[in-house]
Each structure stands twice: as structure tokens, then as C-alpha cells.
Amino acid sequence: MPALPVYKGDAPPLHTIRKPANDRRHMWSLRWYVALLLVFSIATYFISFHHGSSTFHRMNDEVTTSRKDIKNMIQLLPSNFLPETGKHRHNGRLVVVGDVHGMKHSLVSLLSKMDFNRKHDHLILAGDMISKGPDSKGVVDLIMKIGATAVRGNHEDQVLIEYARMTDANVTITEDGEDVTTDEEPLLSAGNHKDRKLVKALGHKRLRWLKSCPIILKVGELEGMGNVIVVHAGLVPGVRLEKQDPETVMNIRTISKDGKPRDDHDGRPWTKAWHEYQKSLQMKDRTMVIYGHDARLGLQEEKYSIGIDTRCQKGGKLTAVVIEGGFSVHKYHIVHVGCKA
């Protein structure tokens, strides 16, 4: 890529513009260079991210095929759950909640704070409903009962991998789950004790439900918010949804200087590159991502992304994005409750 002349000051570079006839011509060439610079920098990001997404794990396509266990990558939310707009609209809302991590009481309190009514409101969980907190089983029971939709978070993924491992080794797991205090089923290899305890506690029926959750949930086009997508951690800009690497979508927090997605804070927040990319698209093609996973950053409200992991499990808050339809457009507001650690 040739070095791009950066337009500074009044005089345009001689070799590109012959003679500015008047001031107007000046402004035109300035805009042209700024636009070119912007396009090239976005193109660089586009190219490096496409390459970056393939070096996160050496072969991007191969990872999605080697995660053959993931059957449900993308799911479209049934349109009857979408809030309506217009004069005679239904008063149904869409509620998206971040990392619950087994904090069932906080979830109940959050839903009651907004007068959640399962008759016309629909709940979406942005992953990490289980693990770490006191009542993972209760959370899953609750969300199954109210017919919620959820995306798979990295903790669900970890537990599901352990679940597959335990079933391969013929470890006893019941349908409804049971709380075991001792590890009476020694595998031929040791394991992550917390995950194994959780697998046994959840039981086949809850694990089946969790396994059926997609990695990416397409909520749909909401007038005023754009195309809305819910994932657990984030998306790589410029890569089609079907080509997104599931591990990245469940774990990304930042993107390193050389374009590689990272799950730590050692790079630039992925949302920055996401916004730059959205701005390069036409309005109708822009996407708003609602995600969790990054408790350190907490609530992050931006034009095309909303981060709602507010560290409930460690005594922070549990946050919801409540989307409702207005007369002509959809809008959202944030509701949260404090969580007792």
C-alpha cells in the first residue's frame, strides 16, 4: 500500500492537484484526502481483522468445523417477540440481561423492578447465566419457565464441554440434576471440580436447554436501533455472522495492535473497531450489538453497542436493556438493581 499524502494546511500537494483555481477547490481536495484516508484506514482494519480473526486460532474456518459440537451458531428471534410500534401497538417489551452468574434473587428483583410480565414481555439472556454464583440451577429453571431466549456464554461453553467429557466417560448424570458433595465418580482423568459439580447439579434437562442456545442471536431490525444482535462477548467487525469464530464471539474483549482478537484487556476494545466499521456502512446495514462478558468495563452505552456486564456476582449491579416500541421508532432504556455479594 503506497504512503498516503496527508493533507495539511492550505497548499495541496503539487503532484496530485494542478492548480487550485479558488478556495472552493481547496475544500474539495481536503475532503477527498480525508475521505481517502478514512477509507484506507477502515480497509486496513477490515483486512487485518479478517486476517486477525483467522490467526486467533490459526484457521478460522477450521475452528468452526472443529467445534462440530456447536450445532446452533445463529438463531433468529421469532418476530412475534419484537416490540411493536405505532398507535395501536402491543405493549410488549424485549428485555436483555447481562451476566447473571447464578444470582437468581438479583434476576428476580430486576424483573420485578420493571414489572416484567411474561404474557407480553420477552427475556433474552446475554450468556453466562451459570457458574460462579449461588444458584445456577435456579436461574436456568427460571429462564426456562418464563420461556426466555439465551445465547451461549463462555461459562456455558466450558460447562458443556465438561458435560460432553463426563458423558463420554459414563459418569452418572440425572435428568433433573442432583447436588453431590463428593466426587464419587472418579474419571480416569481429574477435572475441573466446580464444573463437574455444576454439570451434576444441572442435570440433562437443563444442559440440553443450554446446549440448544445459539452463539449469536439475531433479534431483528428495530426501527431506530438498527439491526440488533445479542452475543455474549462481541463480534469481529467485517466478518459475516456465519463466518464468525464461536470461541471469539464468546470470549473477545479487545483486539491487539496486529488485529488479533484477545480475551484480556491488552488491546483496544473491540467496540472501537466495531464502530469504525459501522460508520463505513450504509444506515440500513448497521448493526447494534448487545453483549456482556466484560465486567471490568461495566455498562458501556455506545451508538452501535451496549455492554451490560455490571459484575452482579461480585456485588455490583444486574443490568437490563429494556426495548420498547414507541409511536414510530423503538427505543431502549437501562434498568438495574444492586446485587448483594
Partner: protein, 213 residues
């Protein structure tokens, strides 16, 4: 076991058969094993053995090793497959080493080998052991070469493929590879007189004359 050294391609084929029969056998026996070190790095690049590798690194847990020692020591497995047309014997050899080690209470350092009895090439099966007295607390595992990591980096193991056979790898495979080989090893496409070709997804030797390798 063998009376002459193998050529480049022959050795590569023999090693491929070695790991395939090993993984198939252990899946049959029901002993969980996973790729580590150099073999894991080969998996990272193209799910194959790196051509210049002369040995393979796999691990099992301590309980698995005791199980193998109790029931499978000196077992011979005969494989005759389309890739191993003439049929070949592979032996599982468990070496119990009884040594007093100051660092731990355990007395055994057990290694095992999956040996190709025709060529003499073998896979070194090492044990990963829990270190109960580690300063970092519970859940620390250590390898024979001194490498240490948390068991949450290893478990739950991930299912994948290696040399066309189902295999398992550590959960946090990237962290384990990075800490052992540094980040460069995961992206540098020139190594050991080979170049990694992205289109072919394979390490291509730089010298045309392969017999000299």
C-alpha cells in the same frame, strides 16, 4: 527394534501411523489422553505433526497411568489398516520408576511408551500430576519437565482432530502454547528450514532434496 534410519517421508508416515494407532487404542481402552508440547504446537498449525519433529508428546493423568500400569503393561496391539498394509505391532510399555523426590511425597515417576516395534519409533507418554504443596494453592499441575499450570487450563479437555483421528487438547491451549513457546511460535511461518504454506496448510521443506533432511 530397527536396523536402519528412515527417510524423510517414511519417517513422517511412520509417526503419523504411530499417533493414529495410539489415539485409537486409548480411545478404545477408555483412557483420556491429550496432546502437549511440540505435538500441540503441530496441532495448532495444521492439526498435523510438524515434519521435523522426531517424537510426539502426549499426556495422561496419574490415575490413568496407574490404570495402565495395572492392566496394560507390555500389551501388544496389532494394527493392519489401509495405511499399514503389512500389519504392524505396537507395544504399550509402562516404566515404573521408583525414585525418592524431595519436592513431593509421591514416590513414582512413571513414563510410558507407545512403541512401533518395526521401526523403533515411540511416543513418550508423560504423566501430569497434582502438586498438593504448591505455593499457589490447590489445583496446580506439573509435568516431568518442570512445566506447571492450573488444572483449569487443562480441563475440561476439548475434542478435536489430529492427523485425521479424534484427539483431545487442553482447554486453554493457546495460553499453554504461549507460555511454553512464546507468541512468536504461533505465528512465525518460517522454521527449521520449512515454510508454512497457508494455501496448502502444510509445512513445505525449503530444500528440494528431501533425503538430506
Amino acid at each position: 527394534f530397527a536396523d536402519k534410519e528412515l527417510g524423510y517421508q517414511d519417517r513422517r508416515d511412520t509417526l503419523i501411523n504411530l499417533i493414529q494407532t495410539y489415539l485409537a487404542t486409548f480411545a478404545d481402552i477408555g483412557v483420556e489422553t491429550w496432546l502437549m508440547h511440540g505435538t500441540l504446537l503441530g496441532w495448532w498449525w495444521n492439526k498435523r505433526i510438524m515434519p521435523w519433529d522426531s517424537d510426539l508428546d502426549v499426556q495422561v493423568s496419574e490415575q490413568s497411568m496407574h490404570f495402565l500400569a495395572s492392566y496394560y503393561n507390555m500389551s501388544v496391539f496389532h494394527y493392519k489398516t489401509p495405511r499399514i498394509r503389512e500389519g504392524r505391532d505396537y507395544m504399550l510399555e509402562i516404566n515404573p520408576h521408583y525414585t525418592n523426590r524431595e519436592q513431593t511425597d509421591k514416590l513414582n515417576v512413571i513414563d510410558a511408551r507407545w512403541v512401533d516395534t518395526s521401526s523403533g519409533l515411540f511416543i513418550d507418554i508423560t504423566t501430569v500430576r497434582y502438586n498438593d504443596t504448591h505455593p499457589a494453592g490447590k489445583g496446580m499441575l506439573s509435568c516431568k519437565d518442570g512445566h506447571e499450570f492450573r488444572d483449569t487450563y487443562l480441563f475440561p479437555l476439548r475434542d478435536t482432530m489430529f492427523e485425521g483421528t479424534p484427539a483431545k487438547i487442553p482447554f486453554a491451549y493457546r495460553e499453554i502454547l504461549e507460555s511454553e513457546y512464546k507468541k512468536k511460535a504461533l505465528t512465525l511461518t518460517e522454521y527449521e528450514n520449512h515454510h508454512f504454506d497457508d494455501a496448502k496448510m502444510d509445512w513445505i521443506p525449503k530444500k528440494q532434496d528431501q533425503e538430506t533432511l
